[in-house]
């Protein structure tokens, strides 16, 4: 590299990494520029339609819509940063609602037991995913597709529609609020903060980036890579079942189709990559992911206001996901050449 261009490049890199540092994750900043653009144009379009985009009710509605996808995606971020992937989250969410509704059975006294049961079940599924991937050396895509199918089969065989019952008391998670802030949004913020902190501040996080960046390098540096990958899967599955609890709280019942109907498996992966985390692992972060979730939510909100046809909605979302990832690729290539 020639002296002139490389020093210019270094300056640029320096500036980039400072911005990155401020946002707490590498290359998260473009997503927030995109988010601002989307919000501003939504506000303008909405205003032209005679509505107020920034009406508290509308904002709250968007945030609550972001909760379910946001929590799953936060967990998905962990496994993807670690170079893995989880396709089983959608069906796991369904299973979680069923387990919660069945264990609680409408009895307020069983709420705590139900929550604990769901969390244990989630951790177990994550552990199984992680073990299959690390010990049996099955590609994560296939391993989690397999566990997803197994859960699907169990659900289909045993449950036809809404099952069990969630006691009214547990509804606070889905509907309650502290002052103007919905409890579910606080939950989302807490999960995102926890994941952010885990990735940025802890040894586990540092090693997860290493494993995702280059598993052999991490292994040869003395990192117990299997534990890290399994840990990420357990956390990812826990995030999924927390989403399941939130949904169950809103539905007041278990629903065997709620996860797959919501498309949380692919949507969460989309939110993660739109947020700038690389599917190959080792780079990215949850701050970007949540930006991705918000973009999808704002667009959803806009489409609803404009009563856009559902199929067209999907087409537009598809275009946006591809455009986002293509832009990241271009940005990276530009950096590589400088």
């Amino acid at each position: 590299m020639s002296a002139g261009s490389s020093s210019a490049g270094r300056e640029k890199v320096g500036m980039l990494s400072r911005v990155r540092g401020a946002l707490g994750s590498s290359s998260a900043w473009p997503i927030y520029i995109a988010l601002v653009i989307v919000v501003v144009s939504s506000a303008i379009i909405t205003a032209a339609n005679g509505d107020n985009f920034f009406a508290p009710a509308n904002i709250r509605d968007m945030l609550v819509r972001s909760v379910a996808l946001g929590i799953v995606s936060a967990g998905q971020t962990l496994v993807i940063v670690g170079g893995s992937l989880d396709l089983s989250v959608a069906n796991l969410i369904s299973v979680a609602t069923i387990v919660a509704a069945t264990v609680m059975g409408g009895d307020p006294g069983m709420v705590v037991v139900g929550v604990i049961a769901v969390l244990i079940m989630g951790a177990a599924v994550g552990l199984i995913n992680g073990l299959i991937i690390t010990k049996l050396r099955v590609n994560a895509f296939i391993a989690t597709l397999g566990t997803a199918l197994i859960m699907r089969g169990i659900l289909d065989a045993n449950f036809q529609g809404a099952s069990g019952s969630i006691p009214r008391e547990f509804g606070f998670l889905g509907y309650g609020s502290v002052g103007p802030v919905p409890i579910s949004v606080i939950l989302l913020a807490a999960v995102v903060a926890a994941v952010w902190f885990l990735l940025r501040g802890t040894r586990f996080g540092h090693r997860l980036y290493a494993v995702g960046g280059d598993e052999e390098t991490a292994r040869l540096s003395g990192v117990r890579t299997h534990r890290i990958i399994i840990g990420a899967h357990v956390l990812c599955s826990l995030c999924a079942v927390i989403t399941g609890l939130f949904i169950a709280s809103r539905l007041r019942a278990g629903d065997p189709y709620v996860g797959s109907a919501g498309g949380y498996d692919l949507e969460s992966i989309a939110a993660v990559v739109v947020g700038g985390t690389i599917l190959a692992g080792g780079r990215g972060g949850v701050i970007g992911t949540i930006g991705g979730v918000f973009i999808l939510a704002v667009l959803d909100n806009l489409f609803n206001l404009l009563e856009v046809n559902a199929f067209l909605k999907d087409v537009i979302r598809g275009v946006i996901i591809i455009a986002a990832v293509a832009l990241y690729a271009l940005q990276r290539r530009g950096k590589g050449a400088s």
């Binding site: 590299m1 890199v13 990494s17 501040g201 802890t202 400088s338």
Partner: protein
Amino acid sequence: MSETPNGTPNGAPLLQMRGIEKNFVGVKVLHGVDLECRAGEVHAVVGENGAGKSTLMKVLAGAHQPDGGKVLLDGEEVSFRHTQDAQKRGISIIYQEFNLLPDRTVAQNVFLGREPHRGPLVDRREMDRATAEILGDLDADAAIRPGKLVGDLSVAQQQTVEIAKALSLNARVLVMDEPTAALSTTEAERLFEQVRRLQERGLAILYISHRLKEVFELASRITVLKDGQRVGTLVTEEATPGGLVRMMVGRDLDHYYPPRAEPEDIGEVRLRVSGGGTDVLRDVSIELKAGEVVGVAGLQGSGRTELARAIFGADPFDEGTLELGGRKIRIRSPRQAIQNRIGFVTEDRKAEGLIPVRSVRENGRLGLRALGSRARRERGLTGQDLVEELTRAVELRARSLEQEVRFLSGGNQQKVVLTKWLAVKPEILLFDEPTRGIDVGAKAGIHELIRKLARQGMAVLMISSELPEVIGMSDRIVVLRNGDIAGELPAGASESDIMFLATGEGDVGEHAGREAEGS
């Protein structure tokens, strides 16, 4: 050794490996190898590729478990189930392919797996401070800041980070696997200084290298491995390069370079670049003639590889003109380059030259696929046995044409790459580090092949960081510096002339006046 600062109470060497055996899927790769290293000693391990050096070192580092024999530290038997076990006992290894994460910072890399912490939290300030301190010991704290991304560092700086990583582990035994493979001469000199410093600190250093010159410069003892066995251990003063090579290859090997081209062998200009520029190269002009080998020298980062990639259309020229046989042409992609009879033997065989999990035959036919069926017919490339014929011409040694190329040695893999290019009947061949990572024995074969192709009328461009290779092979030497052509030297120029042009510093050599002459 009386001056050993590191405690070896019973006088035993710091490290002893005795009768190490290792099998891979039933194939024995180490047959009872012995090796020892004292504190404060640099002990070189030499041998051809496949001699078992890397496997032996991986056993030492805990990355492989031995099937027999034992490892002793301070005369006490140890066994490592994991690299971390070995690290805890003070054994560190710097692999040839660095184990660094480009997207993480220097400090994060140095302390990977052992991050300083308070509770579960990484103590980032302490991590940066400790990293800066270690880099300071290596006299590298000015250039390499702990918060920098490793991907933004030069190769030599990355190597310093590797050394820092080893030191942060309080390594007592340091294994360096081919540490100079990717370094320029000056960078290598700096590395040697660092190695001597580590030696003074009392580290036992196992130094693996192909380059006998540096082995003689650094090591006090040399162990030669061949086919998984120890041929012998010599005290450096008693060894000779010739003797070592004989031990390594089991026969005399007088490495000579094939005779250069005579003036009448050199034909018309095949390729001419005028004022070529990319984001790395500036105003580059170069000519390649039929029958001639043009050597390209320059430091790491001087634009050597970029020049070949630009000609080949992988990262095309943005400026200037390119002529093929007097005809102006724009080459925007490798496919176009291949269609215009240019071949490119890349530096990284496994990533850019071959598809390791496919067969010799398929790899040999890769380039042909870039040509349409009409172009293939026009060039008479329809014969099914073309690959077979060519593999015979390059004297490929493979079990069969269906063998996956990942199972071949480096030299034979390179021959498959050559086969791939010869299959499309090129007129211009670009070589980037054609003998990197190839055995001493096989190197001569590759050199012979390159010269043979030139003699058949091919125009050859050969990039190499090994100056003896550039000097031995080239009919003309182009030296790059910072993306510019620093000058051109005739066949047989001296190493110091090349380095003068490459660095722009040092003694004004006898050829300095020619600087303006080139291109």
